[in-house]
């Protein structure tokens, strides 16, 4: 019943919490929340609450890019965050989320990976970006992506002493080049909306996630949801995402 109500409201351009269709919920960004991580951020958008922690480690580079540090992004839908989440290895949705966030960071060339090379072909820094759900009330991708860049911006590299990592001594910041902002635009009949709650997500026809760079260039996209989009809708959704990304960027 509530499902129908949410749907009807959205179709008439209104939302349960009184927001405009293109309005985000309150956004709170806390940084350095996890002292033992090399970088961290906790982002809350409405009741969605996500912590991202960055750990740095040494590793062997991929053979095709021997002079670049590595980025590994993982997401866990921890069962504490929602009655629908169960313990176990990451499923399809968690995997997609991690890969979309990873793509935004990677394709924007957010981090200068070449500066993270210690010995070409042998040793490079690896950044582990771990996305941890605390509470799920929709729009997990935008919140995770924002928390990830907020955490990366604060990340400090540990000191190397005789080839060993000393995490007690953190030195310079990660070499950040660009900051991608990911905005998901939802579609329901002929309406577009931003920052859907979990209830709203259940009635959406489709979603388009768009990662936007400082200069308005797009660096990643992913369509989701079970209905198609026309060319014109796609184009309007991209424009809306770019516009909203500018608002989010100011918060960092």
């Amino acid at each position: 019943m509530r499902h129908d109500y949410v749907l009807k409201l959205l179709e008439s351009g209104e939302r349960l919490d009184g927001r405009k269709l293109d309005e985000f919920r309150d956004i709170k960004i806390e940084v350095d929340t996890i002292e033992r991580a090399e970088g961290s951020a906790r982002v809350k958008i409405g009741k969605t609450d996500i912590i991202v922690g960055i750990k740095m480690d040494l590793g062997e580079p991929f053979p095709d890019v021997p002079n670049q540090g590595m980025l590994r992004t993982g997401a866990e839908f921890s069962p504490i965050a929602s009655p629908e989440f169960n313990p176990g290895p990451p499923g399809e949705d968690a995997t997609e989320l991690a890969r979309v966030v990873d793509r935004g960071i990677r394709e924007s060339e957010c981090i200068d990976l070449e500066k993270l090379c210690l010995k070409p072909g042998e040793q490079v820094w690896t950044m582990f970006v771990d996305i941890h759900m605390m509470n799920h009330d929709g729009n997990l991708i935008d919140v995770s992506a924002l928390a990830a860049v907020a955490a990366l911006m604060r990340t400090k590299m540990p000191e190397l002493e005789d080839g060993k990592i000393n995490r007690e001594k953190l030195k310079e910041k990660l070499p950040i080049k660009h900051i991608p902002i990911t905005v998901t635009v939802g579609k329901i009949s002929d309406k577009f909306l931003i920052d859907p709650t979990k209830e709203e997500e259940q009635v959406l026809d489709s979603k388009l996630m768009v990662a936007v760079m400082e200069d308005g260039k797009i660096c990643a996209m992913q369509k989701s949801g079970d209905q198609g989009l026309s060319e014109e809708e796609t184009s309007r959704m991209i424009d809306l995402a770019i516009k909203k990304s500018k608002e989010i960027r100011k918060l960092l």
Binding site: V65, E92, L229
Partner: protein, 238 residues
């Protein structure tokens, strides 16, 4: 993507394999390649070859997974270990898991799932040789396999990738082009209404470039649509 090419990839308007920017590789499609399956197809774009098989609709077990008013779709995209230069370890990677999901979402809008409550339709896609654009090739194969299985469909689903290489907008990226491209946009759509059901992108592009690529792919995809229809006719009109 991400890798920078030292040389130009497009010289005097010709690509590595001699194609023009808007040219699709040679397409081969054959329907009915796996006798055991309810429907199947093999699709090649140049050296990229996907085989898809559809099993079902069949009763879904265990029963608690059944949906009372619709069939459910399960989709698995898998790359054969020998499909690329460096052997791929069997078992599904994160990449394959994600592609399985977006492929399922790309196909679902074409199907009348409510006709088969409590059942499952399994779609298995095997990439037996990979040279770029594998996910969209898999979608073309799955579209044909579904039609071959007699699933009621609103339309076939066409998959095609577009992108930017050097300064040029191109269609149907091969593996090497994919590695060195500025950006890559795989798309699937239902051609009759031009309804886009898969849209992904990586790389860096201006919004206008993105829109141009989407438009080009929707246009060029019509050729792939015709090929799909021909392949189906070939099996059923002797």
């Amino acid at each position: 993507m991400g890798m920078k090419s030292k040389e130009k990839m497009i010289v005097e308007g010709k690509r590595l394999d001699g194609r023009t920017p808007d040219e699709i590789r040679e397409i081969e499609m054959k329907v009915g390649v796996i006798p055991n399956a309810n429907g199947s197809a093999r699709v090649s774009f140049g050296r990229t070859t996907a085989v898809a098989a559809v099993y079902g609709p069949r009763i879904l077990h265990p029963r608690r997974l059944q949906e009372p008013d619709t069939a459910i779709i399960r989709c698995r995209y898998n790359m054969a270990p020998f499909s690329v230069d460096e052997r791929i370890r069997p078992g599904s990677s994160r990449r394959e898991k994600e592609i399985s999901k977006v492929t399922r979402l790309a196909l679902e809008p074409a199907l009348f799932l409510e006709k088969y409550p409590e059942t499952v339709i399994d779609i298995y896609i095997e990439i037996i040789q990979a040279d770029g654009s594998t996910r969209v090739t898999g979608i073309n194969a799955a579209s044909l396999a579904l039609a071959d299985a007699g699933a009621p469909m609103r339309d076939l689903v066409v998959g095609l990738a577009g992108g930017k290489l050097d300064d040029t907008i191109i269609i149907d990226l091969c593996g090497k082009e994919d590695n060195y491209s500025v950006a890559d946009i795989p798309i699937a759509f239902l051609p009759r209404k031009n309804e886009i059901t898969l849209l992904q992108m990586d790389g860096q592009l201006n919004p206008d470039e993105v829109k141009t690529i989407v438009k080009n792919v929707l246009n060029a995809g019509k050729k792939v649509y015709e090929k799909q229809k021909e392949a189906l006719k070939k099996k059923y009109h002797k």
